[in-house]
Symmetry: D2
Subunit: 280 residues, 4 copies
Amino acid sequence: MGRVSAGDTVVMVDIKGKRYLLKVEPGSRFETNRGYILHDDVIEKAYGDEVYTNKGFPFLILSPSTYDLIQSTRRVTQIIYPKDAFYIVFRLDLYSGKRVIEAGTGSGAFTAVLAKAVMPDGRVFSYEMRESMIEYATKTVKNAGVSNLVEIKKRDIREGFDEEDVDAVFLDLRTPWYYLDQAYSALKPGGHFGCLVPTTNQVIELLKAMKEHKFGDIEVEELILRRFKVVAERFRPEDRMVAHTAYLIFARKLACRDAGSWYSFRMGRAWKNKLPSDES
Amino acid sequence: MGRVSAGDTVVMVDIKGKRYLLKVEPGSRFETNRGYILHDDVIEKAYGDEVYTNKGFPFLILSPSTYDLIQSTRRVTQIIYPKDAFYIVFRLDLYSGKRVIEAGTGSGAFTAVLAKAVMPDGRVFSYEMRESMIEYATKTVKNAGVSNLVEIKKRDIREGFDEEDVDAVFLDLRTPWYYLDQAYSALKPGGHFGCLVPTTNQVIELLKAMKEHKFGDIEVEELILRRFKVVAERFRPEDRMVAHTAYLIFARKLACRDAGSWYSFRMGRAWKNKLPSDES
Amino acid sequence: MGRVSAGDTVVMVDIKGKRYLLKVEPGSRFETNRGYILHDDVIEKAYGDEVYTNKGFPFLILSPSTYDLIQSTRRVTQIIYPKDAFYIVFRLDLYSGKRVIEAGTGSGAFTAVLAKAVMPDGRVFSYEMRESMIEYATKTVKNAGVSNLVEIKKRDIREGFDEEDVDAVFLDLRTPWYYLDQAYSALKPGGHFGCLVPTTNQVIELLKAMKEHKFGDIEVEELILRRFKVVAERFRPEDRMVAHTAYLIFARKLACRDAGSWYSFRMGRAWKNKLPSDES
Amino acid sequence: MGRVSAGDTVVMVDIKGKRYLLKVEPGSRFETNRGYILHDDVIEKAYGDEVYTNKGFPFLILSPSTYDLIQSTRRVTQIIYPKDAFYIVFRLDLYSGKRVIEAGTGSGAFTAVLAKAVMPDGRVFSYEMRESMIEYATKTVKNAGVSNLVEIKKRDIREGFDEEDVDAVFLDLRTPWYYLDQAYSALKPGGHFGCLVPTTNQVIELLKAMKEHKFGDIEVEELILRRFKVVAERFRPEDRMVAHTAYLIFARKLACRDAGSWYSFRMGRAWKNKLPSDES
């Protein structure tokens, strides 16, 4: 419990915070700018302990988290930031056992996050056109240890999705407004639709198109993450930050004849009867 | 699939967006300001469909999400907002099978979110002193259908936690700096520590105390959620927003003799070797 | 110095922070919920001192600032918030002696701010179509003591502005893209153009139109003001805030044949030789 | 009108947005990476027009604004950002004719902004200990053309300020809480106090100290500036931004015996009678 075994993937952190992913293999050597570390010296160490290079420089050993998984994925394509990824998962109400469609797959980092969320018995169907991305994402998903939950499909999604009655559909595409029919068809009644786009023009285009489809309870949101300097004596925000990643759009598949009335409301304040009080 | 059954809990939304939680029971009547709805008229309806009061006013039927669960919990105590709740879950790297300690339990809404995250075989140990909160949270957790994953314990946590080698400890307390020893003892090596406090004074106090304990890789973050008006022709942020909920502090339990070097780094930019490229 | 004279306009603040504007007139009575105050009791008081109602409730006496002027203007129309107003003034490079055009006048609060900025010998030309607004704004400007610097004109600005070679033009209109010719004509070469619009659709429309006109060095900005709880022991942001007021667009009138190259750059980092070093 | 004269200081902008300050002197040459420009070719050009290097590369000619003045000042010391500078000026209610004290002077950029605001007959008294800063600031102020309005004084302000009954005092110091007595003494009754500090610890320290002095109507604010990409077809915020510059603290000098009741209120909503309606 809590100790490194041969075959583990670990995070090695140097004194300045540089992080390296390392698959621990007996007999191997991890080369750094400041000397090397024998993998055998890492095995049996506790997570959270240090190990030293042959020149005496310390490295911290940590277990990789889902957060690390995203952070460490190479930016082969536009990545979904952790703050957005985690929020989307819950807004689409994904947890153990759910079935979700994603298009496109991209680097596979968000695919892996989706798979972690629906573990151990849910399923992620991820569509992608670009062969190189499929290859890349397949590795990402394998590295995350969730290959058994993910199906990556090469498909022009104009032809539609294979699945029906899925719990959620998430579109990470340049022109999501062209695929609303396909998303609608794949969703179960009341199912969750989500979309991520970086520009206001795309949001505007999407909102227009959604009027022509039976989606309702639409919301558009943006998450801003502010980091702080970790100094008790001079506590303040960091000097610079990521100012914008994307707008997030969420909606529900409607099953009524005329969807117009349910296009959008202002949420969150209007809860009337509350959960535990129901029971009392 | 996708239809309401007797016994389901559903969300009923009126034309203005007011939401009501409803446990559907044959023979019952749902009274509204605009007439009543027979539960029997709701049964067998598709989710995402409408139902009408006897006076002809429509209501939309939706399935309740984890997000709804938080939103609909009565504010009997300070609540953790969804944006924060979802982020914390992933920053503590909680997914199927993980074991996590929470203190205090409060309304139980976040307890239920934790349980959803570690379904179906993880475990949430939640500590609370106030009898009334325990009662309330027990109902919240039951309503969320995750009672089997949660243990709520009445305990002054100065005495410590029962569990050992847990994957994560989350403190939602006024004075978390007094309980760092207890958190440290319960965590497995390298385990995830998280904390939520509303004021800068509390962050400062906590950061000072963490210097005296073997926690490392500390980060302090704040999430800001901005909603937008869902109007394609006049797309813009809402006029007013929640300006502040809380500061989030994350750290790892260290196992090395001298933890000082690992207190804090600037994360996220410093990844050196990236996942899929490792394999190629 | 620093004492109230008959005829002064003062701000009276009650214990909860409610503010009242009061023109001090000997013999008058200021009626409040908690008794009355004799104006004669206010005269000769120092600013920053208290005065009591006949029932013993204290009021604080302050001098009204330009900030108060804006805050206290009735919302007869959409108002420009102080944070935006002050920033616009400097971004248009308005100070003593400058001549500026504003359209439309609205409540006159921003007109007064412009006048304060160009005191004592500058000039504000403010255009407005609605008779009621002109009347209202005339009073606002008079109350601010800057009537002598302001000309409010009733005009459909499609016909153009009377002035030429002004230092700056500021448009606070629903459809500013229709008036770029008029703005261009009134400005001096290199003069400052500014505009305020609340929606992204308007910004997009304006940016498109500006491509067809000789404006350059365009910037679009948004200012967000966060207030904090003034409590040393629990220092934190306020719970709620104004999330959005408007987007601010700034540009310069170009005089070259082909303006396309100068449409927009990323500013602020690119300064090469710095001021005082020039001289050394 | 609107044309460059010999002796003018102009801003030269290259095609990528790099900016150069240039004092135009007949017979001189402006050397660039892409060839040189004869100052004589700039003279008589309209502002907003182009001029070409001997190699045919265009430069745009603009007049320098107060905004440029700040942006172009070398970071010899921590600078006050324009967004903050402009807001402070108005929150201290500075306009033509006002007298203001500043400590410390720093690079002189904000000193010049203050001077611009109180032109032509106000006065800025600026205190600074560091000889090198005084020299530097003297040049900044001269370059801004406002030397006649500014007095820079070398002084340890623990000894107090020379002036009395000034309209405003602004402290830009590491430990402003040590100088509240001095600030109080220099201010006229009801006068405006302002302060800028980067960390929350400093705000907390200052708020504590202000309880022991007769300051009231205290407010703490933070301004966040978000820039947008100036692209009509892909309108969105910039990717990265300045996350934090400083907290701004404003207060009024009180003249009453017991200042405790007036320490702080929540402003801005509580205006009771509104300006123009008074008159009607």
